[in-house]
Symmetry: C2
Subunit: 425 residues, 2 copies
Amino acid sequence: MGLVVQKYGGSSVADAEGIKRVAKRIVEAKKNGNQVVAVVSAMGDTTDELIDLAEQVSPMPAGRELDMLLTAGERISMALLAMAIKNLGHEAQSFTGSQAGVITDSVHNKARIIDVTPGRIKTSVDEGNIAIVAGFQGVSQDSKDITTLGRGGSDTTAVALAAALDADVCEIYTDVDGVFTADPRVVSKAKKIDWISFEDMLELAANGSKVLLHRCVEYARRYNIPIHVRSSFSGLQGTWVSSEPIEQGDKQVEQAIISGVAHDTSEAKITVVGVPDKPGEAATIFRTIADAEINIDMIVQNVSAASTGLTDISFTLPKSEGRKAIDALEKNRSGIGFESLRYDDQIGKIALVGAGMKTNPGVTADFFKALSDAGVNIELISTSEIRISVVTRKDDVNEAVRAVHTAFGLDSESDEAVVYGGTGR
Amino acid sequence: MGLVVQKYGGSSVADAEGIKRVAKRIVEAKKNGNQVVAVVSAMGDTTDELIDLAEQVSPMPAGRELDMLLTAGERISMALLAMAIKNLGHEAQSFTGSQAGVITDSVHNKARIIDVTPGRIKTSVDEGNIAIVAGFQGVSQDSKDITTLGRGGSDTTAVALAAALDADVCEIYTDVDGVFTADPRVVSKAKKIDWISFEDMLELAANGSKVLLHRCVEYARRYNIPIHVRSSFSGLQGTWVSSEPIEQGDKQVEQAIISGVAHDTSEAKITVVGVPDKPGEAATIFRTIADAEINIDMIVQNVSAASTGLTDISFTLPKSEGRKAIDALEKNRSGIGFESLRYDDQIGKIALVGAGMKTNPGVTADFFKALSDAGVNIELISTSEIRISVVTRKDDVNEAVRAVHTAFGLDSESDEAVVYGGTGR
């Protein structure tokens, strides 16, 4: 009983059959006595097809027009979903992001939600309708232009609407059964996590887990909206993400010491070689990077060689930003003062995440021992209160993840195969 | 020099190549010193594909949701068109019907425009942009829901915008060279008309000519907006539709006695047999038909047979309304009092249109002589000040049209083949 916001990704509504299956699931939630708001992405490959069309008419499609184009995708899926629900004998109305009151800034293709004014959605569900809302899109506060939220945007739409409507839960339906202790494509014995705290989920998302986007979890934590990640195919209980464990029938859910092992091979490492070891050097380097609007991840400064007074500074960043970072540093070479730049995209990152490590001092030692036993060499180390991450050779990543997963007792007893995929947008 | 509203149908923007070709044409108009607003339909078969999807999820898609779905079509074409224009180095912005201020009533799938408040379009063109507007769609005044205008709706959008913006001309680009003196698929010697009055064009549209919809011409006449129907492929001068002839260079354009011959085989004839020949009978019959929201065209009442005091009343109507009309009459059989109903869908209508017939009394006689010489039997006759139309057997229609076209000297000297098609929506 209450208000449920559900989100269905593109793979769940890839064709007419998928739409009908999702319609049934939505109606089920309504029949259980809930008010239901369903956020939906574009059907399957629609977005890619639209981008392909755009590239046929213009090599560099304008942001405003690209947003106008791409938002046609959800318009199609949401209208079809509303029809399918009405065909099951329930009332449904579809709403664009603009109609749903999703107000954003004006940064086309990756707008941020500023406010949600869901008056029409509230009225619609109060009148007994199921409201279907286009994910991924909004309207800019200043220019009233249509905007899109960028990758994973539909999840953010769902959580933001859930917050604005004071929903009881935000259910994210996807093509996997939930969040796992590791990527099941790498660790066949990975287990589904029943419950995970916002904090641990944020660390997993920041370190390569793709089921939920960092931004969406952050939003949910800020407004304390429990997220339930589950499969749109199986109907099983998935993973709850919330501030406190949620009772699941008889099942006692406890805070695990270690939540899981994330990994990421999408980053590269840049080493700035031969930097004068004096105050302000690091600041100059990272100001240069920040001015180029590049987000970096881990940073390490070597101990200076006494003989030369020079040191090396390494940092990691998304491979896609590599070219831009190198160019920015080269351009400011004289201002910074360094001997050379080294670019390395054959790295991988492994992160062990768990709030339990705060009170279990042995975790770090066990982590390094597991890596060492597996013969994995460590290049960089970074830690937070609830996470340890290391950079290794890319080729060692899978072996490292498996070794750590086993060492911390995360392996499942059963050996069922799980399919694991991204959630699209 | 001035403000030009252009409209491009779905066949003109069927693929990326078509969109780029249309973009060039639009830029040309801009380079000639005009402010340009371009109204665009959905690409080629998009609408049919979306309807097909809708039917896969629901046998009777709800009107509100069908409108939401179909309007995705123009969203795609208009965004692509704006991108293609920007790629040619000109500024362009696309707008939905709602953003363009196209306010309609709430009748989904065939809404009527109530008002146009084109503030954003005005601002956009005043800032030097080319404004691209989605045809066929609007937003309902009461519920703020997305609506569509029904068949030919994009033409109406263009004319309505032209009126609201006080444009100098509304150019309707299509896949034919203009309006012809007859359907070139039937009359190979049909000629392109250089200029035609609103009144004659209205009669042609009402009697089967498909190049411009009746509703669109009516709108243009009410606001006195000249329409220029022309090919998006050839770039030639097409047909001007306006209140007064428009000078075309050296060419002297005069009011023709006869504008053209239209024909229509989409109607059926219903005969109400054995009706008491007393006052009020016809009123009862046509009240019954009107209550069923059926539009009828021609009406004929036979001379009553003195012996029985009974008469027959025949009328024509779109075939698609035939079933509904028969049902309505049968339901009210006792109230009306008739012996039987006859339904005949093997009829055709031929109409001769021209303001000149007001002052040329021989036209009617020549018309009937031409039909008689061609051996065509006439079943019903209807006239207005500027039109004579007759109903014949469907099989006689093509022959009748050719005979009349020749008799009134409309045949072209040259024998070029012309491709003739509808304008879609």
